[in-house]
């Protein structure tokens, strides 16, 4: 196995593109190193991208954020405005693993590892985030939702990797939230995750809403019916019940050692309505 440290985006792309065998990108390494030790992956090349400045920086321009793919969840939480502008996105990233893991684990890795249970992904999709993909053919912007294609697989081409994750300028009177179900409080993988993003009109009624579920399908899924159920409401009990029902109907989970399909369906509704309420309260300035 060859290990290379890239110091530019282009350099990383050309190293990855040049490898004939199996190449892996190392950002935080909290998935890759575990997979290496367990013998789950046997790469011929590992390219460390966390020494490239662009992958390690959070920058803000006119309200829009560019977050380097190797920025750790803990760094997002410590950022001056990111956590207040995007509390749901930030809390998703800050839930990964444990305090120690969050010092390393990145949204880039969480996204490209393509676990259906990835904690940082649902809120990013709900936020309408994109990512900048760098590859041998140059750079392209892709919706975060289009990166994972199934458990452990993503849409990146040969030699491509995610350099940054980009959050649009936050809409006025909007906010977001992310909740997940794990039996413990940390060091666990979501049985269900649910993100909500709501935007209020001047009268305090929801005028746009997105609900995205994790761990209930091969990839995170948006539930448009759940979002629609919130529009025109103030997240009252009836609206929240409709959100829950829509999510239960949309969830297509599997049964495994972490939870039954039936459990996941029910809890996806519970978490979605709770996340929606939190997002609504935050957007209303009541949280």
């Amino acid at each position: 196995m060859r290990f290379e440290v890239a110091d530019t985006l282009e350099g990383a792309a050309s190293l990855l593109a040049g490898e004939q065998g199996v190449a892996h990108v190392l950002a935080g390494g909290t998935d890759l190193l575990v997979q290496l030790r367990a013998g789950m992956v046997k790469p011929d090349l590992v390219v460390d991208i966390k020494h490239i400045e662009a992958t390690r920086t959070i920058s803000e321009s006119d309200g829009a954020y560019t977050i380097g793919a190797a920025v750790a969840g803990a760094e997002m939480g410590e950022h001056r405005t990111l956590a207040s502008d995007w509390p749901g996105v930030t809390e998703g990233a800050e839930l990964i693993g444990s305090t120690q893991v969050q010092g390393r684990a990145s949204m880039g890795g969480n996204l490209c590892n393509a676990s259906p249970a990835a904690d940082s992904v649902p809120a990013l999709i709900a936020a309408g985030a994109t990512c900048t993909v760098v590859g041998p053919g140059g750079t392209r912007d892709v919706a975060v939702a289009d990166i994972p294609t199934g458990p452990g697989s993503n849409s990146l081409g040969q030699g491509e990797f995610v350099a940054t994750i980009n959050l649009p300028k936050k809409a006025a009177n909007s906010s977001d939230a992310y909740l997940r179900m794990i039996p413990r409080t940390e060091m666990d993988i979501a049985i269900v995750g649910a993100a909500a993003n709501v935007t209020l009109g001047d009268d305090g009624t929801i005028m746009a809403a997105k609900i995205v579920l994790g761990a209930v399908a091969p990839t995170a899924i948006e539930v448009p019916e759940a979002g629609a159920a919130l529009v025109g409401t103030k997240a009252d009990d009836d609206a929240l019940a409709a959100v829950a029902a829509a999510c239960e109907a949309a969830a297509k989970p599997i049964s495994d050692k972490r939870g039954s399909a039936d459990y996941r369906k029910k809890v996806s509704g519970v978490l979605a309505k709770r996340a929606a309420k939190i997002a609504f309260d935050r957007a209303s300035g009541n949280a």
């Binding site: 039996p183 413990r184 940390e186 060091m187 049985i191 939870g259 459990y263 029910k266 809890v267």
Partner: protein, 757 residues
């Protein structure tokens, strides 16, 4: 002699533990930290099947791989006859142990060792494992204890005929033994009962979860001796078991104990050690072996899964008139589950006239169960304390009052034959009832549960030497690996007896050649038994100090008293002499002073515990949060109260894990699905509130300071305390552990449905 509680200067205080700095700075050497020049890396090939006949093993390709220095299979081990060897809290059949170390003929569980290699690197060793061709004839398997007892179940051992029956059974079965113990006449007792309940419960196999995987370095020398470095709960047991399995003399094996990163009973037997010695002998070089976490889960000894029936009868005024239990323990691949201890302990917190307990030790295609902190007792107590809670509700009695009314006390005869002397069972119940926790208010979806538990504690063989140095400092040499802060406790007892400051005493855990045989660190015995040996060795020093002082003072030894580290003449004008004075002059007065003690300590006082647990159940997700937890226990005398509290907190936490999330998940194919900490869910720190502790001190009259073992009793009550709290919060009686969110939500919904109908 015994020491008066009022005059203690060191015992009962909270000095910093001597091993603490090394452990928190990473300087301490644990099992995997030791290495030797020229060492090889050993690895084990493990069965992918739960039950299969080994048709053939071809190791030729592995042996031909450059860098591979030794390969061994089951046939390289000595064939052993069935023979019980004492190890720790339970006896081990060396025939079974040998087959567990390396399979012959059949593999009996997913992860069973089938071959071992030693190579110049870990990568080559792994490659060598891939090159070993094993042909298996896969057999039907059985993982569940109740299934394994059925007549048509696949039989693991063709030579296993149930022991303990009036007549030897005609056919082999998976039931290794049946045991029964009774007091009075339960049939008659139940006739007097106003209320009788019969309930069934199940628990899953759970692992001790020690943070340090098993690791060993062995060096077999040309003269036929072997030196071994490993972490264990008892290096003398490791030495003796290796000697037995390998046909060596005990004196030919010297085991040096590493620091131990947790054991909880799981490190009282051998897995890698005999293989490392045998591979080293074959290769002519030292061999280091370290288990991965997956190997620890798949192939070491968790506590058994169990299936438990309980029947209890009470009168309307709350008197238990009869109690009966039937316990079925899943021993895993080889016999030897702690079902006996479960039978002996489950009803023991109570004074019962009529009680009968039956236990079955059953083998299945799962890894062989091992000792885990109060082995067997948490399972039995889970069943009994759950049923008692239900009865208290039916009687409309406070559950602590109900227990107190029936509680054991001095003079109570237990079902296993013991009659108690001074015990703290009722004192603990009173302390629990008076605790502010028990009187505090609860909110919606919250509930409170209590449960009690008992553990025997043991004594056993211990050795200690106390070396007095010329400058007046002291080294205590003993033979028990320090798991729970015992270096501190030993130093404190020695300092107390000698009348010198704690800081003047160092404690060394010596290797098997440097101190006499000492039984394992287990059974909650070390502070009691080894503490007794250290106390006596220190008293031996005091006797010699007085003799030397008396000679210098030209008095008889009886005319000298020892007080606060100084020999005082009771008559004449001689100057008092301190320990340092006498030690400095020792060469002149007869040579260096060494105190010794070698004992088989008797009179370990039993410990009783009662825990109070508050939970909140999320009615929509089934998630259970522990809100508040208080552990109350009779600890005899707390030598170092912080470490006693630590034992109680640790036991409570392990029990909470056992109750809520921990379980071995064997799938339909008999394969362990969760051999790692991600999906084997032990509690993490953020899951728990601070565990409150109350130390009730009812001195054990058999110990000079009144010590009772404290390490195991705190794991006995939590399972039922949690489940009883869940019942209080939801009205639902959960009878199968663990109560995962999935299981809890199913029960909540079934309950709702029932209510609606």
């Amino acid at each position: 002699m015994t020491y008066d509680n009022e005059n203690l200067k060191v015992v009962g205080t909270r000095p910093v533990r001597p091993d603490g700095a090394d452990k928190v700075t990473g300087r301490a050497n644990f099992g995997a930290d030791f290495s030797m020049p020229q060492q090889l890396i050993g690895k084990v090939l493990r069965s992918p099947h739960p039950h299969a006949r080994i048709v053939s093993i071809d190791t030729s390709k592995a042996e031909a791989l450059p860098g591979v220095k030794a390969v061994m299979v089951g046939e390289d081990m000595i064939a052993m006859a069935h023979e019980m060897s004492q190890s720790g809290e339970s006896a081990i059949d060396v025939h079974d142990l040998s087959l567990n170390v390396l399979a012959r003929g059949k593999v009996l569980y997913d992860g069973h060792a089938v071959a071992a290699v030693a190579a110049t690197s870990a990568v080559i060793a792994d490659d060598a494992l891939d090159l070993i061709d094993v042909t298996y004839d896969v057999l039907p398997h059985v993982s569940d204890v109740d299934e394994a007892m059925k007549p048509d179940a696949p039989v693991l051992h063709e030579d296993m005929f149930t022991a303990g029956m009036d007549e030897k059974p005609a056919t082999a079965s998976n039931i290794a033994s049946r045991m029964e113990m009774a007091l009075g006449d339960v049939e008659e007792g139940f006739k007097k009962a106003d209320i009788v309940i019969e309930r069934s419960y199940k628990t899953k196999a759970v692992h001790q979860g020690y943070i340090e995987p098993h690791a060993v370095v062995a060096n077999f020398a040309e003269d036929g001796t072997a030196t071994v470095w490993c972490s264990s709960q008892g290096h003398f047991a490791i030495r003796d078991l290796c000697a037995k399995l390998l046909g060596m003399d005990s004196s030919a094996i010297r085991v040096t104990p590493a620091e131990i990163g947790g054991g909880f009973g799981g490190k009282t037997t051998v897995y890698l050690e005999p293989l490392a010695i045998a591979l080293s002998k074959k290769a002519g070089r030292p061999v280091k072996m370290t288990m991965t976490r997956a190997e620890v889960f798949r192939a070491t000894g968790p506590t058994p899964a169990t299936s438990l029936d309980v029947k209890i009868g009470v009168t309307n005024d709350g008197q238990i008139v009869a109690a009966e239990a039937d316990f079925r323990f899943n021993a895993g691949a080889f016999k030897g589950s702690p079902v006996g201890a479960a039978c002996m302990s489950a009803f023991t917190p109570y004074t019962l006239e009529n009680v009968k307990v039956v236990g079955y030790d059953v083998v299945t295609n799962a890894c062989k169960s091992g000792a885990y902190r109060a082995p067997g007792a948490p399972n039995g107590a889970f069943a009994v304390e759950s049923a008692l809670d239900e009865l208290a509700h039916m009687l409309n009695m406070d559950p602590l009052d109900f227990r107190h009314q029936n509680g054991a006390e001095a003079g109570t005869k237990a079902v296993y034959g013991a009659t108690f002397r001074e015990i703290g069972c009722k004192d603990v119940l009173v302390a629990a009832k008076n605790h502010p926790h028990y009187k505090s208010n609860l909110g919606p979806n919250q509930g409170r549960g209590v449960a009690s538990g008992f553990w025997f504690n043991i004594g056993g063989q211990s050795n200690a030497a106390v070396n007095v140095h010329e400058d007046g400092t002291v080294t205590v040499v003993e033979g028990n690996p320090d798991i729970g802060g015992t270096r501190a406790a030993m130093a404190m007892m020695a300092a107390e007896v000698l009348g010198i400051p704690f800081e003047k005493v160092q404690v060394v855990v010596a290797d098997t050649a440097s101190i006499g045989h000492t039984d394992v660190t287990g059974g909650s015995r070390v502070t009691f038994a080894t503490g007794m040996a250290v106390t006596q060795a220190a008293e031996d020093v005091v006797r010699q100090l007085k003799e030397r002082a008396a000679a210098t003072m030209e008095l008889d030894p009886e005319e000298v008293v020892w007080q606060d580290g100084v020999a005082h003449p009771t008559k004449g004008e001689a100057k008092p002499l301190s320990l340092a004075d006498i030690a400095g002059d020792a060469a002149r007065t007869g040579g260096i002073i060494v105190g010794r003690s070698s004992i088989n300590a008797k009179g370990a006082g039993p410990s009783f515990a009662t825990h109070i647990c508050d939970v909140e159940v999320d009615p929509e997700t089934g998630r259970i949060e522990i809100l508040r937890y208080t552990a109350v226990q009779d600890v005899g005398k707390a030598i170092h109260p912080s470490y006693v509290e630590g034992q109680m907190q640790g036991g409570a936490v392990q029990g909470i894990g056992w109750a809520l999330n921990e379980e071995y998940v064997y799938n339909e194919d008999g394969i362990l699905e969760n051999p790692g900490f991600l999906d084997y869910r032990m509690p993490v720190a953020s899951d728990l509130p601070m565990i409150d502790t109350v130390l009730v001190e009812v001195a054990n009259p058999s110990h000079p300071f009144g010590v009772r073992g404290v390490g195991e009793a705190p794991l006995v009550p939590p399972l039922a305390a949690v489940v009883n709290a869940i019942q209080d919060a939801t009205g639902i009686r959960m009878t199968e552990l663990p109560v995962s969110p999935v299981k809890m939500l199913e029960a909540l919904e079934a309950n709702q449905k029932q209510a609606a109908e």
